[in-house]
Symmetry: C2
Subunit: 400 residues, 2 copies
Amino acid sequence: MAKIAILGFGTVGSGVFDIFDQSDFQRKTGEVIEVKRVLDIRDFPDHPKKEIFTKDFNDIVNDDEISVVAETMGGLHPAYEFTKALLEAGKCVTTSNKELVATYGPELLRIAAEKNVRYLFEASVGGGIPVIRPLSACLQANKIEKIAGILNGTTNFILTQMIEEGSEFEDALSEAQRRGYAERNPAADIEGHDACRKIAILSSMATGDFVDYNDIPTEGICDITLNDVKYAEKLGSAIKLIGYAEQTDSGELYACVAPMMIKKSIPLSGVRDVFNAVMVTGNYLGDAMFYGRGAGKEATASAVSADVIDMVKTKTSAHPLIWEEGKVKMLNPAEKEWSYFVRTTADKTKIAELFGNVELISGVAEGEVGFVSEKMSEKEFAERNAQLGGAAIKVLQAND
Amino acid sequence: MAKIAILGFGTVGSGVFDIFDQSDFQRKTGEVIEVKRVLDIRDFPDHPKKEIFTKDFNDIVNDDEISVVAETMGGLHPAYEFTKALLEAGKCVTTSNKELVATYGPELLRIAAEKNVRYLFEASVGGGIPVIRPLSACLQANKIEKIAGILNGTTNFILTQMIEEGSEFEDALSEAQRRGYAERNPAADIEGHDACRKIAILSSMATGDFVDYNDIPTEGICDITLNDVKYAEKLGSAIKLIGYAEQTDSGELYACVAPMMIKKSIPLSGVRDVFNAVMVTGNYLGDAMFYGRGAGKEATASAVSADVIDMVKTKTSAHPLIWEEGKVKMLNPAEKEWSYFVRTTADKTKIAELFGNVELISGVAEGEVGFVSEKMSEKEFAERNAQLGGAAIKVLQAND
């Protein structure tokens, strides 16, 4: 009999409770798993197991029977202090809290290693999709050369509404809010901050050392218009918000979050609605993609629960994950080469002078043309485009 | 320092050798991994490490220094006898040999459990794509309700050529042979036997007990014509060879291998060329998909090597996988309900009499129409279609 606790009885935490309350895990784990305690600041007087709820963290950290804890509170504080105390008390912890892993990952992993317990975070990226585990598996025999992921379901829903229903950005955002996919304050999603935390975690996995999300240039989808979507259609492409990371030949890491135009022959372009997908390129493996529901109560709870069961089975790791800080050298983003989609009201002569003989696409908006540039560094593109004043979107190519 | 051996120096085995010969795994595993022995019946007099080659299996099974063996010989014999002897000698074994796992899996897993060693087979399904591991992870907290996979790269290449190039089946097959994707005797691929072994392995993973591939009705792609492909296009669908398994509410397993029509809004339909993909539906997770190169030297070797490294790190499993034989109850395939695409030269009145008010698609072949039936049992469909004499293809729907 293993006893566990859940911190936070919100969407994910209550989903984790339901999984262990309703299902029979005995066959799978060889052990019965009992949720002994749930921490929440709210009262749940009508809950059938109201006696297990507590507002006092000490009831969990000081309970020697509890060996595994699922932290599903979200936010940095007190999730950080609680997690640290639990690991120091020799308990295994799993979290769905990307903010926490992206901020305090190195310290929490180090404490877990010192205390010979495990700190897992499958649900922090890609919700219910197994991403962290298969990435670890790929990593065993591969150098991960590239990661490109649709990491935020809210923005993917908004872009899908724009592409398939012809909705304007603001209307698609309202629809996402109406359906509960977007918060009333949607900044974390639409400005790309959520995707940025997630690509930072994936980059840390790929490099083996800590990648600080503050070092990752991040652009959201607020400036994407229906006209951009129409140009994408004409180019046989779709616009997606991509978290991107690449290990260069010189050993530097480049990472960014940005909306990108993606050819329809690339599988990421077909990921619709609130689904997420992570494309991983390994030097031996080639391209592999992991796809599924990136959010939602049951999917995310399923990933947290998988971690719980894993830690109930195996409480220690012979080769613990350590992310050292400051070891990853970041490429200057201005040096990274991309192709760009540009739309501009400048005249043909000016465009040709700056970008050469590019194919011009017209018929989307009066007095405006669009084109795809050759690959060039971000710096060079910015210089040339300054003279055009065009709106630009990065183009993700199969070989980027 | 861990010492390993490789059985069979063919495409996959030599790929595994290259990975351990060229890469630095010290950081990843905390151990140096050395390929001490390679078993092959052929001579490799010019190989830079020719001294490690042997034709005598005893050089491996009797070598106490060798703790992990990669079996990449293929075929049932002597791979079965060798694997059994290695496990009984207390060595961990990994294999890319789907035939072996699908045939002798229960016995080999039982011996591994008894000897407290591990028997892994990530590369037996989906080549380099992590499929078995993420499926195990999903399984921790989910009942796997459904699996639908494009499990054979050769047939997917052939179908892609038919869809995108308008090639006839025979020409697409020749092209696949020319490129080395298909064997000179392509029966195992095009008749669906390869996919059948793989869906049997995935079904065993999902149910936790052994599913015999002989119990899985299997249909290949030899009868798919360019006209079928054109009808699919008109229906906004694509034809793919699908390995399918489903756990029914009554606790029975239904499995089959068959070409299926798949709507383009379903991600499996967009899997092109030699790529494989496995869609898994969990009761909490919903749909998740794992996608990548299903074959090829480096991708498959990468999966075998990941297993090797995993076993070098952890030689025993606290909760070994056991597949009991004869425990899975199979649904009578005649009872499984599908929608069918039918093309027929019968007249409208006859079609309406048998299948009701279905929408008829014409303009593909002279004197012929196509339609999609309502969902009905395979038995009922066969009875009705016997009176039409139509050619039929199962339709995979999002909610099947």
